[in-house]
């Protein structure tokens, strides 16, 4: 196997070194690991086999933040890739970088590819479009946060009904702990995304002013509201005996769910591929829990995951290849398959309809969970999405303060107040550089 691919690579190297096979290379930098990495590789391979003029070359560049930074560094050094996968929190950074990027709507128009922004799911494209509805980046792997459930363990612990609200989750966590899960009753990955960003949207509480930054960069953080403080305080209390146990800022600890350590785990719906491949128990995913005393909750969730940005300064021929690749990705059958295998959302309406019509969701309700969350209610100012400059840095600050509260170094209220004022400083800095 190894030998064969090596020989293949060698043969390919020889073939491409002669000018007769002058293919245009399209560099695609991404951050996908595990099952999703296989999906990326397979997509590139399928595209390369489908035509002769272009060759998509994929490179894994580390976690989302690393990939974004690799792209920025490469741009400054003058050799940016053609396609850069950037997570949703990098959106404002990329939007602010006019001249560094080639907007997707423009790319498709220039290349003469058929492109209808209305064919894509509005809950997703809204995040990546200007106020005028011009799509700036190409949605690729969109997800939302869901609650993963280990049904076997819940049954063993005597939790007969899957929890819907936070108080029910706390109860279930205590029962699980009593039944032997003494290191983790419930947990979550992506500390800030779960406990601040999604919590705000799901309860229709503003995270910041100006529609969470969508209406302008002069936004101010507001995530130290009574609801936010109450939620963090609950987690702090439960952390003491590990009914809740902290799992870090990113997705490194998602394995705690698949290994069976944590039976209730909030993380991205894009985790599906790995759960399917590794979990040796009966699992499902359900919508995120909510506080029933908050009026109108649950609202709707916001998307996560990433989109593909096209970098500026490339030749017309290269852009043509990128545009062709995007058309290839938008294909209904391909999108439907991608959605059904990876757990990421279908990006086009047609792919969603097709999957629905095929009766897929009856057999796999797990995959409809994030879609139901996103379309639960008509989005409000507080649940349309987020757009903050230097969001990567802000997330780190927020996680840092959450950690301080969970470790018992400061009260929940103080931690959130500090996170808000530090985040505001970062926002003001960004505002100055994009002016």
């Amino acid at each position: 196997m190894m030998k064969k691919s090596l020989l293949g690579a060698l043969a390919f190297g020889l073939a491409t070194s002669t000018s007769a096979f002058a293919q245009t290379e399209i560099q695609w930098w991404h951050a996908m690991t595990g099952a999703n990495n296989d999906v990326v590789n397979r997509l590139a391979e399928e595209f390369n086999n489908s035509q002769k003029d272009y060759k998509v070359v994929v490179s894994y560049k580390g976690q989302y933040a690393d990939t974004l930074n690799a792209g920025i560094a490469a741009f400054r050094a003058g050799n940016a890739p053609h396609i850069l996968q950037v997570f949703e929190v990098g959106t404002a950074t990329m939007m602010g970088a006019k001249g560094a990027i080639k907007p997707v709507y423009q790319l498709m128009a220039d290349a003469g590819e058929k492109f209808d922004p209305k064919a894509y799911l509005p809950a997703i494209t809204g995040y990546y479009s200007t106020a005028k509805g011009e799509m700036l980046s190409f949605p690729f792997n969109s997800s939302s946060m869901v609650m993963w459930i280990n049904k076997d363990e819940l049954k063993k612990a005597g939790v007969n009904e899957i929890p819907k609200t936070w108080p029910e989750v706390f109860e279930a966590g205590k029962k699980l702990k009593a039944a032997g899960h003494d290191t983790c009753g419930f947990s979550n990955a992506w500390a800030s995304w779960a406990n601040i960003e999604q919590l705000s949207a799901w309860h229709n509480v503003p995270m910041a002013t100006k529609a969470n930054g969508l209406d302008g960069f002069d936004t101010e953080m507001k995530f130290n509201s009574p609801l936010h403080v109450k939620h963090l305080q609950n987690l702090v209390d439960l952390q003491k005996d590990k009914t809740y146990d902290y799992s870090g800022r990113d997705s490194k600890s998602e394995g705690r769910f698949t290994s069976g350590e944590c039976a209730i785990f909030l993380t991205s719906s894009g985790f599906y591929g790995n759960v399917k491949a590794n979990a040796k128990f009966d699992f499902t995913s359900v919508p995120m829990p909510y506080y029933p005393d908050v009026q109108g909750a649950p609202q709707n969730s916001i998307i996560g995951g990433a989109s593909l940005w096209v970098m500026g300064g490339k030749s017309a021929d290269e852009y043509k290849g990128v545009a062709k690749f995007f058309t290839f990705l938008s294909d209904t059958d391909r999108q439907a398959k991608l959605h059904q295998e990876s757990g990421y959302l279908p990006i086009t309406k047609a792919a969603y309809e097709k999957t629905k019509a095929s009766g897929f969701y009856e057999k796999n309700p797990v995959l409809e969970t994030p879609l139901k969350e996103l379309t639960n209610k008509e989005p409000t100012e507080n649940s349309r999405g987020l757009r903050f400059g230097n969001m990567v840095q802000i997330r780190d600050v927020v996680s840092e303060e959450i950690e301080a509260a969970l470790a018992g170094q400061k009260p929940a209220k103080d931690a959130l107040d500090a996170a808000v004022s530090r985040s505001n400083q970062i926002l003001r800095q960004f505002e100055r550089t994009v002016r």
């Binding site: 560094a73 950074t93 970088a97 290191t183 290994s259 840095q393 950690e403 800095q429």
Partner: protein, 293 residues
């Protein structure tokens, strides 16, 4: 008669010194001057717009309580790493210097970790001590210690000190071993004949003769901890929990590379540079007096 070699004219000496000068200018002075210039600017991450802001980046830095905390963390971290990496290396070197079976194999094995890249070293330690992934973390938890470097700052610091020390022991070991082997056997044998025990021989003969090596290693180790440990910190703790393992160099990396704040990051690296220059100067001024060449 004068001892110094004499060159007539300027051409030859200049020619001989030129390659070294060129390397120093290209790889040290030029980047350093860029950092200083950068620290007076405010730029977006992509470098599309920049504005001259004078000392604003520096002033902003000294308003952050996090910056002072990073300083304290750096002092704790660097003293621990310097102490452990040098004392372990000295212990290992004295043992490897004895005539033991398969001595060469031991020496080679001890030098190995130096060839490991810092980030890889960090990942190796994560695989052992990560609360959920770690192969050694489970037994530690099983014996009743609530090992949790993800929330407990002390645990995170222990983990970091271990990995940074492990990474640097080899280097120090190599120099200590070379130093030990340069000590004439006859001196030690004379001590033994006079009735001095091994401990006494070590502290009165060997250690003083090793002092130039020790001094050199002290300087090198401090520079190592200040500049080269961010790869380990990034892989092991990411500066967390709650910023308790954020050292000055990691803050430079986090703010500049991860946060895209190049001006602030450049200002920090200029300050870091000044601190290390001052530290090295102090070492040469005061510690070196105790060194016998």
């Amino acid at each position: 008669m004068e001892k110094r070699a004499h060159f007539s004219g300027w051409t030859l000496p200049l020619l001989l010194i030129l390659p070294q000068m060129a390397i120093t200018v290209i790889f040290f002075y030029w980047p350093a001057s860029q950092a200083i210039w950068q620290s007076f600017l405010r730029e977006d991450a992509f470098g599309l717009s920049s504005e001259f802001v004078g000392f604003e980046n520096y002033l902003g830095l000294f308003e952050q309580p996090e910056y002072y905390r990073a300083m304290v963390t750096t002092v704790i971290f660097s003293s621990l790493v310097a102490f452990f990496s040098m004392s372990c290396a000295l212990l290992l070197a004295t043992q490897a210097d004895k005539n033991i079976r398969a001595g060469h194999a031991f020496k080679t094995l001890l030098i190995w970790p130096y060839a490991v890249a810092p980030a890889i070293a960090g990942v190796l330690w994560i695989f052992m001590f990560h609360p959920t992934l770690g192969t050694l973390a489970r037994p530690i938890r099983a014996i009743g210690i609530d090992w949790n470097p993800m929330l407990n700052g002390t645990h995170a610091m222990i983990l970091l000190v271990l990995s940074a020390t492990w990474k640097h022991v080899s280097y120090n070991f190599l120099f200590f071993l070379a130093g030990l082997q340069a000590i004439p056997r006859s001196v030690i044998e004379a001590g033994a004949i006079d009735g001095a025990g091994p401990m006494r021989r070590f502290w009165t003969i060997v250690f003083p003769l090793l002092s130039p090596t020790t001094f050199f290693l002290l300087v090198v180790t401090v520079v190592y901890v200040f500049f080269e440990t961010f790869g380990i910190i990034d892989a092991v703790t990411g500066g967390g929990p709650a910023g308790q393992t954020t050292t000055l160099v990691y803050k430079v990396y986090a703010d500049g590379r991860l946060g895209g704040d190049l001006g602030g990051s450049a200002a920090q690296s200029v300050i870091l540079m000044i601190i290390v220059i001052a530290l090295t100067a102090i070492q040469f001024r005061y510690v070196e007096r105790k060194v016998q060449y």
